[in-house]
């Protein structure tokens, strides 16, 4: 069975290679090849999953060692995989949602001349993401980590001729690179501390080293996680990343890649458990992001950006849960999976809407679409209900568990965390309802575009609707299934540990409170957008609204703090390099030239002055000789 693990990665990798180097010949069938290979991975994943299920609880970790990657003295990095319950969960999510989105893309990208390449990139992403979750050491994880970054870069910038897409892609990569510094420093710290960076030895002996080191490692891992998962302060790329094709947003920037940060924190649980300070920072980051993302989500009129804000916010939940330690790990992952279903569903729905609306993304130009695209409406609606935590849909279970765990943190901290998360839940309900109302209800508000083409909204083809339906089913049922006897938490327990904290507030109370704030949120949105037609042009709004539309000034801040000074620094250095560093060299040459020009004037052509020089020279010669003797 172990040998199948490598194939999980190999199948999409092969697809990427073939599709990207195969040339035009593959244009006609390339997308099906890509989809088939993604599905192959999924099938393999399912096979492995049942294999794992068939094993005893403690025996569910499989290893596959392929070859030694970088062996240098004490530094031994291997290409080796580790499949345990945690990675299995991710593998299923990645390959499952991934395959669906491949299928969806077949329809969505039908008219794009570069569809083959798009599938190549998607396959590349799958391979890298699987490598990330299957790696048995941090360096290989890092390889996958950067690999998904690359795929994300390529896919965000897929429509490269659009300058905004190209800029967004670059931004995503750069911001992620900042996070990657964290991961690389963390690995270096592990190497100097433990002499290795394989999961097994590092995590099992984490407790043996000082808390300071572990805190440092933890913070560095968190930095990496912030980059990949768009957490404050490295959140700014996610909104722009929506420039990419919608399936990409669904797969990478909602369901899978952005959750890699959560995976990293949960995977490194042993380190965080022994470094409470680092955990606190994780919690703070999660809490801040969940509110931040929600506020941004409330203000955006671009449907994808609103959903992106939501993604950020939901990952904030997961991050917060992961920061809580063993109480939260399992629920972080659980929310991650359910979120994978409903957020992917939402994005695919949004994509379907755009597909029917000539790629219009401004929700204020939608309205009343439920009549034109019923399947989309229903699936989107189910996912909507799931995310706002409508009772007994999947979001309800996973989010409530996290809120409960937050309260269980105890003391003032617990109350603060709980309240923040409830606030987040209310905001979630608000902005999701806003999206729902603006898109599917009310009057039609669309107008002819600049070329006079009026959109003709229509339902999408089956290749697109089928994945949406499947995801909708997941959105509805997953939470319930997972929560049955805490099956999901127990499944993960060998990896993440499981603890039940004592909450000052009971489970039921939390659920009740969560449902209550949800109703408040929905109500508020209804009052604002449901009762009267929404204006096509966004009203000016308050300062907060304007700030929120500008992503709470994140870009302004980055510009002022980094980009502008950086530009000046660079320009200054170019000047310095030219004038000073090079100037010294050129100046030296010029100085010799000048000296030469001066010295040669001594050679004035008059024989008598030459004689003077000889006479003087003789005098000096004699004087020096005599002086040397005298001294």
């Amino acid at each position: 069975m172990e040998s199948l693990i490598g194939l999980l990665v190999a199948a999409p990798l092969l697809g990427a290679l073939v599709l990207l180097t195969g040339g035009r010949r593959l244009d006609r069938a390339g997308h099906w090849l890509g989809t088939a290979l993604a599905a192959t991975s999924f099938v393999l994943a399912v096979v492995l999953f049942f294999d794992l299920l068939g094993r005893a609880d403690g025996d569910r970790t499989l290893h596959q060692h392929l070859f030694s990657w970088v062996p240098v003295a004490g530094f031994q990095a291997d290409i080796a995989f580790q499949l345990d319950q945690l990675s299995m969960t991710f593998v299923l999510l990645i390959t499952g949602v991934g395959s669906l989105i491949h299928l969806y893309s077949v329809g969505y990208m039908e008219h794009d001349p570069r569809r083959r390449r798009f599938f190549g990139y998607l396959n590349l992403f799958l391979a890298a993401m699987l490598l990330l979750v299957l790696a048995d050491n941090y360096l290989l994880l890092y390889a996958g980590w950067e690999g998904v970054g690359l795929a994300s870069y390529l896919l965000i910038g897929f429509w490269q001729d659009r300058p905004r897409a190209a800029t967004a892609a670059k931004k995503a990569f750069i911001v992620n690179r900042v996070g990657d510094i964290g991961l690389s420093i963390a690995i270096m710290l592990m190497f100097t501390t433990f002499g290795t960076f394989a999961f097994g030895p590092v995590l099992s002996s984490a407790a043996e080293t000082g808390e300071g080191t572990l805190t440092a490692i933890g913070l560095m891992l968190l930095l990496a996680a912030c980059g990949k998962s768009a957490q404050v302060p490295l959140q700014s790329w996610l909104g722009d990343a929506m420039e990419g094709p919608t399936p990409v947003s669904a797969l990478i920037h909602a369901a899978t890649m952005v959750t890699a940060g959560v995976y990293l924190v949960v995977r490194s649980g042993a380190i965080f458990n022994a470094a409470p300070d680092a955990q606190t920072v994780v919690i703070v980051v999660g809490a801040v992001t969940l509110v931040f993302g929600a506020i941004v989500g409330c203000a955006k009129d671009d449907i994808k950006k609103a959903l992106a804000g939501s993604t950020m916010s939901q990952i904030g939940y997961m991050m917060l849960a992961a920061g809580l330690g063993p109480i939260g790990y399992a629920f972080a992952i659980m929310h991650l999976v359910t979120h994978g279903f409903f957020k992917a569903g939402l994005f695919l729905g949004a994509g379907s809407v755009m597909h029917g609306m000539n790629d219009e993304v401004d929700m204020r130009k939608y309205g009343g679409l439920r009549k034109y695209m019923p399947v989309t409406f229903i699936t989107f609606g189910l996912a909507y209900l799931a995310i706002i935590g409508f009772p007994y849909l999947s979001g309800f279970f996973s989010k409530d568990e996290i809120i409960y765990a937050g309260f269980a943190k105890g003391g003032t901290q617990g109350w603060i965390l709980g309240s923040v998360m409830l606030l987040g839940a209310a905001l979630t309900a608000y902005y999701m309802t806003r999206i729902m109302l603006l898109t599917f209800f009310g009057e039609k508000r669309w107008q002819p575009d600049a070329h006079g083409h009026e959109p003709h909204p229509h339902e999408s083809p089956a290749t697109m609707t089928i994945p949406m339906i499947v995801l909708a089913i997941g959105s509805v049922g997953a939470g319930f299934a997972f929560n049955l006897n805490e099956s999901f938490a127990h499944w993960l327990e060998p990896v993440t540990g499981l603890a039940h904290g004592d909450s000052p507030v009971g489970h039921g109370t939390v659920s009740l409170a969560a449902t209550a704030v949800m109703v408040i949120g929905v109500g508020a949105a209804y009052l604002q957008y449901g009762r009267r037609p929404a204006p096509v042009v966004a009203p000016a709004g308050s300062f907060v609204t304007r700030a929120a539309r500008r992503d709470l000034l994140q870009d302004d801040f980055n510009h002022a703090a980094f980009v502008t000074p950086g530009t000046y620094l660079t320009r200054g250095l170019v000047y310095v390099d030219h004038k000073l560093v090079d100037g010294v060299v050129n100046g030296l040459a010029a100085a010799f030239g000048g000296l030469s020009g001066r010295l040669r004037r001594v050679q004035n052509g008059y024989a008598r002055s030459y004689a003077v020089s000889m006479f003087g020279g003789a005098a000096v010669l004699i004087a020096v000789t005599l002086l040397m003797r005298a001294v």
Partner: protein, 534 residues
Amino acid sequence: MNDLQAPSIEWLALLPSLIVFGVAVIGVLIEAFAPRAARYGTQVVLTTLGFAGAFAAVVALAAGGHATTEAQIAGMGSLAVDGPALFLQGVILLVGLLSVFLFAERRLEPARHGTRVDSFAAQPAAVPGGEAEQEAVKAGHTTTEIFPLLLFAVGGMLIFPAANDLLVLFIALEVLSLPLYLLCALARRKRLLSQEAAVKYFLLGAFASAFLLFGIALLYGYAGTVTYAGIADVISGAPAAIDPGLASTMGNDALLLIGGALVVMGLLFKVGAVPFHMWTPDVYQGAPTPVTGFMAAATKVAAFGALLRLLYVALDGTRWDWEPVLWGVAIASMVAGAVIAITQTDVKRLLAYSSIAHAGFILAGVVAVSEDGVSSVLFYLAAYSFVTLGAFAVVTLVRDAGGEATHLSKWAGLGRRSPLLAGVFALFLLAFAGIPLTSGFAGKFAVFRAAADAGAMGLVITGVAASAVAAFFYVRVIVLMFFSEPKADGPSVVIPSPLTMSVVGLAAAVTLVLGIAPQYFLDLAGQAGVFVLR
């Protein structure tokens, strides 16, 4: 009545210079008696044979051990036949031999009235541009006296490094200088410059000889003898016999030091070291290029030989006095030569300043005062003289309507028109710059190594810095030749006769061989590194 004590002269040991002088005299006789038409051919063949014969004699002497175990002082103590002398004589003779080819080259100038002519004035005594000159040109006269003059100069140069007493030193200096003064004045083109060069060279040369002579007088006053060995004995405080006169002067170090300084100055003038260098650029520029090539190569060899012998044999005891002075002169020469050359615009002047810098490098080896130092200087001189001769030979080939095109701007793009010639010239420049795999590098390394070994690291570092500066202008010429667009009215490269070709080719070959496989020649120089003292 006492029998006349005939002086014992070791004729065989002195054979090289005797052959040269003998041939020179025959050459003069030919000028006097042979018909004009026959002179050129006869002179060329005769001179060539003379040099070849003399060189063979040198080789025979060296093979006979005269360079090492059989080293001796011949001619009643006046001439040394030892390693350095023979080595340098060999080099001078080879340079002389190649110079004959350059002197004899007759394909560069356009033929006048059916006669092929060389680079020398038809009628040197005639006023430039005057009627007499035009008649001489029309008659196809050539100055075949250059060959005996060359022979006399070489004869003087052979004696110069072998001179073992001050009298011979002085005579040799004059014998080598006087013909050179004349040769300088004999250019066919740009005669005003040529004459000016001769006047300057002559006046300053005579001025320097006067200093040298006065120095000789003072040294004689100090030691009561003019032989090197005698002087060395007095300096070391152990003369053969002390008479009252000697007793009163030998304590007078001022005589010794001033005298020594003046003699050294006279030699430094010939070498072209700062601050006695100022004649070099003007004379190199004005003299006919074959003469410049010969002079630059051979005079430097001879003068350094004389300087080495004087310092190592006669004045060895005052080493601590002259070492610092020569340090200063070496540094000044390296720096001034390299720096001033940067802004030169005439190839010949450029090479002149480069020769000044090289005089500084060689002095670094002289200052080392060791056997290594001597042999490194010998090797350097051998390497340098061929590169110099080759470089000037190339200069003779680049011509436009006004004769040789020596202004650098005219050399632009030469590499495109005649890549081979420009390549060879670049090779010579690189050798001057001391790039590895050329003879210049081996020489420089040898000299600097000797200096460093003697503790003169300061000289080495200055030398290295000066080399870096010097590289600048060598490279500038290469840039000009290869990377600049050729000008429409630029000079053309004349296809010379095999005479010049063989000079250039041989010089290039020597440059490469001494750079890549110098061991044999280092051995030669190494074996020749010991002066015979008495």
